[in-house]
Subunit: 223 residues, 2 copies
């Protein structure tokens, strides 16, 4: 029987690399994007382009309006995106975002007899979001394996985090090796409706530095 995997695909650099790794590992890939009415919704266009590029079996875009989350700059457009490095968890943190997305992945997985979920979190060059850390992912996996009918019957869910301990440089090197076309991806928190990146936000800074450190040309289209 073929192996199936749900791949959380945001349209960014990390999730595209995670998809490339799942393909390399011979999974039949089912990509899941979430339209949470995010400020940077061009990433959903990017997710579609990446899903096509990798010929996934299916791409599902699930819509949940989270614009009522007033305390995140990604769901509340009246908050500014920081353009300078800061300490602590930044205002771009979205409460429970990965938990919401992974719970949707769990649901889809169970409904198509799939026990593998890939998420491109990493806790090296990241913004400090708590739901990107390995201990969180492990705990989510434990919870998932008590939650579903399939798990209770013995088909345990595995959450794959192939990037968890990689630096941005290493992620990019790995992706290039696997043929990822990073020009299709978008990381910017305030990307324009045409897909142009600001080059200044936390996410742009990490991405830029990653290409520089990898000694590779940065294919990002900047403003």
């Amino acid at each position: 029987m073929s192996k199936k995997a749900i791949i959380l695909l945001s349209g960014g650099l990390d999730s595209a690399t995670s998809l490339a790794i799942a393909k390399k590992e011979k999974y039949d890939c089912y990509a899941l994007s979430v339209n949470y009415h995010q400020r940077h919704n061009y990433e959903l266009v990017a997710a579609k382009n990446i899903a096509n590029f990798f010929s996934v079996k299916d791409l599902k875009e699930v819509e949940i309006d989270l614009s009522w989350l007033q305390n995140s700059a990604l769901t509340n457009k009246s908050l500014n995106i920081p353009e300078n490095p800061s300490t602590g968890i930044p205002v771009t943190y979205v409460p429970a975002r990965n938990t919401i997305m992974m719970s949707l992945a769990m649901a889809w997985a169970e409904s198509i007899d799939c026990t593998n979920i890939f998420i491109g979190v990493n806790a090296v060059d990241y913004s400090g979001y708590p739901d990107c850390r390995e201990e969180y992912i492990k705990s989510f996996q434990n919870m998932a394996n008590l939650a579903t009918k399939k798990a209770v019957e013995g088909d345990l869910i595995k959450i794959h985090t192939p990037l968890i301990n990689l630096s941005k440089k290493e992620i990019i090197q790995k992706g290039v090796e696997l043929g990822v076309d990073y020009s299709l991806t978008v990381s910017c928190y305030q990307v324009t409706s045409d897909g142009l990146a600001c080059g200044k936000c936390d996410s742009c800074r990490l991405r830029k530095a990653g290409f520089k450190d990898a000694g590779l040309p940065d294919p990002t289209r900047y403003l």
Copy 2:
């Protein structure tokens, strides 16, 4: 400072009782309903009526179309609702439903500085859904406390399950004592658009038996 709580409010008997208990415990109650395009969507009307009855601070109805979950009779209308008792987890089980709903509750909680979530699960007179069991809830709470910024900063989330060890009879007795008007609630998996219950499905059977065992009149409007 006032204590806030998010109450998952489905419109059924259990969640209405859970809300009544939270009110009794002096929480400021924020009710969360999820329109997942469920077959029995009259429960959303019931949730609104219950929320009004208890004068909650806010009622949020979040919409996520889960009709692509083809393996549950609550999201796939071409599957029949069983009308006779059976063994095992029934086809009305919805993959990851409580995980999705609690993750939304987590998000809302964090955004309004709230650390309490009430869910009316119980594992006595229930349909055998794995995500109603105490071990699942405890595991979710552990995960939640690794997931959010507030938790990482020390404000831990508590998932309250005031009904977890009560029989349906005891839940109804408790609710009546607290003034719950059960005529506002709906439990039926195939309730009509006018709010009439079938009286035959698993959920109707548990509810009917609960009122009978409690020696109380059943206010349900049956077909």
